[in-house]
């Protein structure tokens, strides 16, 4: 298939070149070639302070070249990925060598679109299906197959797809079937003139994978359905999504598929809020039960860069849906130590720690104290508050044989809590300050077996502008924590020389750890240069082990130390 596409690409270029010769004098559309390039390379260095040994191949590099050619309604593209001589440490080891990662051919007109090859897609919020890419996390869950989108008018969008999900440079075992409809009712119900809007959506996802059991207790085809709606009335809005997944064998903590522990899954989400000039409030409630959708039932096991065995799920490989943790994404270093990942699947680790999903919610509140008010001052003051709490599903759990019977309403053990308040303010033309306070609780017993943690974090930052483009920013933070590595302190100093160059140094120090070998500094320094479409960044320092989060998703990475170079551009 991929060779076919490459041939097609060459053929297109040849054809265009030929046309060029024939009609040199005529001004015509030769199409458009565009894409981008990204490289992230790291030289790993021995670091006895972190107990980090230099790997056999200390230089590692991830490179992506994305090339697309568009001519009228047709677009063809490839993404060449090169992990040479090896992928960065802690990346999915399935990314190896240089190969075509993505290739596709696409036709699109005003009503109809057809894609062959790899494509990305999301149905609704992604609770049944999300195929996406995040290079920083090493995720590429594109589907390889075919997809058709059809919009008979501006009020209806239909999508149908079939394919297999990408994993490394190959695909997983399951056949994926998907259908999605988005229907906008505003026009038909004359809602727009009343400043209202209503839309609904329906999704179906099927995964077919042959079963090895002699007498399977569930079907080889797993069906999942979801219904959603979205309603807006002036400044008020309300949306919801309900999903159901057929009975399917549960995967145990060792990654084995059970033929006896067979359960269906479901998820309900409700979001509403009111937002108007200067303020906004938003509330989301969600209950998820056994809602992990995998493109292949049994996760694979393979050795990572250190030779330890890892499950493909550790690299978020083979996951077809997207159930993000609904909590605030903090930006300071220490506030990203206790990071929650949605516990949306069934997990029976020991008789004390059994869960079948999660339930909870979050509230967001944003407000700007207007200019020239007492609190607003000369330039106004921004305040944001976020309250998020997530719990186990309440009910009866039995460990052996594994079984559960959970209640629809109510809450079980608390998994995670994060309450935060953040204030930012411009004081004078040259000074800008901000401060935040975060109160966290995380029950690590359900995640990696460690003790539950209560943590308080304070962060303060100030920016001073020397000139229009030259500025310095200082951020100080402190975390008090009751368990694990206990107390931390940190600081960041950032200097922007002008609009092109910027430099930083930051350090976090685990001074409060009970273990002397953990009382270490994670010092990093670096800088970046950007001009037009280019951005180059270098960093030297230590990587703290733990969850690294980008956008909405986190992945566990081990400690390391070294020198990093990143470059990206588009053309």
């Amino acid at each position: 298939m991929k060779y076919f596409l490459l041939l097609f690409l060459c053929f297109s270029f040849a054809l265009i070149a030929q046309n060029e010769n024939e009609e040199e004098s005529k001004k015509k559309d030769y199409g458009n070639l565009y894409g981008g390039f990204e490289t992230n390379s790291q030289l790993y260095l021995e670091d006895s302070g972190l107990n980090f040994e230099q790997p056999d191949e200390p230089f590692r590099s991830n490179n992506y070249l994305y090339l697309n050619y568009n001519y009228k309604n047709w677009t063809a593209g490839v993404q060449i990925e090169s992990y040479e001589p090896n992928a960065l440490l802690n990346y999915n080891p399935q990314f190896k060598g240089t190969d075509l990662g993505i290739y596709y051919l696409d036709y699109k007109d005003s009503k109809f679109q057809a894609t062959l090859g790899h494509f990305y897609e999301q149905f609704g919020s992604g609770i049944l299906l999300r195929a996406w890419e995040d290079r920083a996390l090493g995720i590429n869950s594109a589907i390889r197959g075919g997809r058709i989108k059809y919009s008979p008018n501006s009020n209806i969008n239909l999508t149908g797809l079939y394919g297999k999900q990408r994993s490394g440079f190959g695909v997983t075992n399951g056949d994926i079937y998907g259908f999605d409809a988005d229907i906008f009712l505003g026009d038909w119900l004359n809602l727009y003139e009343k400043n209202k809007d209503l839309s609904i959506g329906l999704s179906y996802v099927g995964r077919y994978e042959p079963l090895a059991f002699e007498n399977p207790n569930f079907d080889e085809l797993t069906n999942a359905f979801s219904f959603r709606f979205d309603f807006i009335s002036n400044s008020f809005y309300l949306s919801g999504e309900a999903s159901y997944k057929d009975e399917d064998g549960v995967v145990d903590s060792l990654g084995n598929l059970s033929n006896e522990f067979v359960e269906p899954g479901n998820a309900f989400q409700l979001n509403f809020g009111y937002s108007s000039l200067n303020y906004g409030i938003d509330i989301t409630l969600r209950r998820v039960e056994n809602m992990r959708v995998l493109s292949e039932r049994e996760p694979k096991t393979y050795p990572n860069s250190f030779g330890d065995l890892n499950s493909s799920l550790d690299f978020l490989d083979g996951i077809l849906n997207f159930v993000p943790a609904l909590t605030k994404q903090h930006h300071s270093q220490l506030s990203n130590i206790n990071v929650y990942q949605s516990l949306n699947g069934v997990s029976f680790v020991d008789p004390e720690l059994m869960s079948a999903g999660e339930t909870g919610g979050q509230i967001d509140f944003f407000y700007t104290f207007p200019k020239d008010s007492t609190i607003g001052g000369k330039y106004g003051t921004n305040i944001s508050i976020n309250l998020a709490s997530w719990y186990n599903l309440p009910g009866n759990y039995t460990f052996n044989p594994p079984n559960y019977d959970v209640n629809f309403l109510g809450i079980g053990n608390k998994f995670f809590q994060d309450y935060s308040i953040e204030v930012t303010k411009k004081i004078t033309e040259d000074w800008r300050i901000g401060a935040s306070y975060i109160d966290q609780f995380m029950d690590y017993r359900f995640i990696d077996g460690r003790d539950p943690v209560n943590a308080d974090i304070i962060v303060a930052d100030a920016t001073y502008n020397f000139t229009e483009t030259q500025s310095v920013r200082l951020e100080l933070e402190k975390m008090w924590s009751t368990a694990n590595r206990k107390d931390w302190i940190g600081g960041t100093l950032e200097y922007n020389l002008n609009e092109n160059y910027s430099f930083y140094v930051w350090d976090i120090y685990n001074y409060g750890s009970d273990k002397p070998e953990e009382r270490v500094h994670y010092l990093n320094l670096g800088g970046s240069y950007r001009k037009g479409r280019y951005r180059i960044a270098v960093n030297y320092g230590r990587q703290r082990g733990g969850l690294v989060c980008v956008g909405g998703v986190c992945r566990f990475v081990p400690e390391s130390s070294g020198f990093t170079l990143s470059l990206n551009t588009s053309f």
Binding site: S82, P324, Y367, N465, N496, E499, G551, G552
Partner: protein, 158 residues
């Protein structure tokens, strides 16, 4: 392989470049589909597409900084800023209250599964694409304090 790739890229870079904004439809905050190519095509008007996310601190700083001068910008130039949120479903619900809470004057679009971001080969945000007459005229990869002035100068030169 990578040694072959680099020179190829530079050849591409000098020979070709993405001239037009991709023909992609994404939703606005009213849940309506908006085509970023066809719906921003007023003759000689400058459209500034600014990619951001609720969790991206430099993005918010940039949009806050532009907000202070936005009345002046839109008075002196025939321009409009469209803030494209790349938040996925984890944080997308925070877009609406945040935009109103911060009182931003911009048109907001939601690139929930990053289709537009990917089509423009955007690796990191903030990232700004300036379009005039459906042609990409200027790109800014990143933001540092004060860079909004550089952007303003670039817009004036168009």
């Amino acid at each position: 392989m990578k040694y072959i790739l680099l020179p190829i890229i530079f050849i591409f870079q000098t020979t070709f470049s993405q001239e037009t904004i991709p023909n992609i439809s994404i939703k606005n905050l009213k849940n309506k589909s908006v085509n970023v190519s066809e719906d921003f095509a007023e003759k000689d008007k400058i459209y500034v597409f600014s990619f951001w996310a609720t969790w991206c601190v430099p993005c918010i700083r940039e949009l806050e900084a532009i907000k202070e001068d936005y009345t002046k910008w839109s008075k002196e130039l025939n321009m409009e800023l469209i803030a494209i949120s790349t938040d996925d479903s984890r944080t997308q619900k925070r877009v609406r209250p945040m935009v109103n809470g911060k009182n931003w004057p911009y048109k907001i679009l939601l690139d929930e599964n990053q289709e537009l971001k990917r089509a423009l080969s955007i690796v990191n945000i903030p990232y700004t694409v300036v379009v005039k007459n459906q042609k990409i005229r200027h790109v800014v990869n990143g933001y540092s304090q004060g860079a909004e002035n550089e952007l303003y100068e670039a817009l004036k030169a168009l």
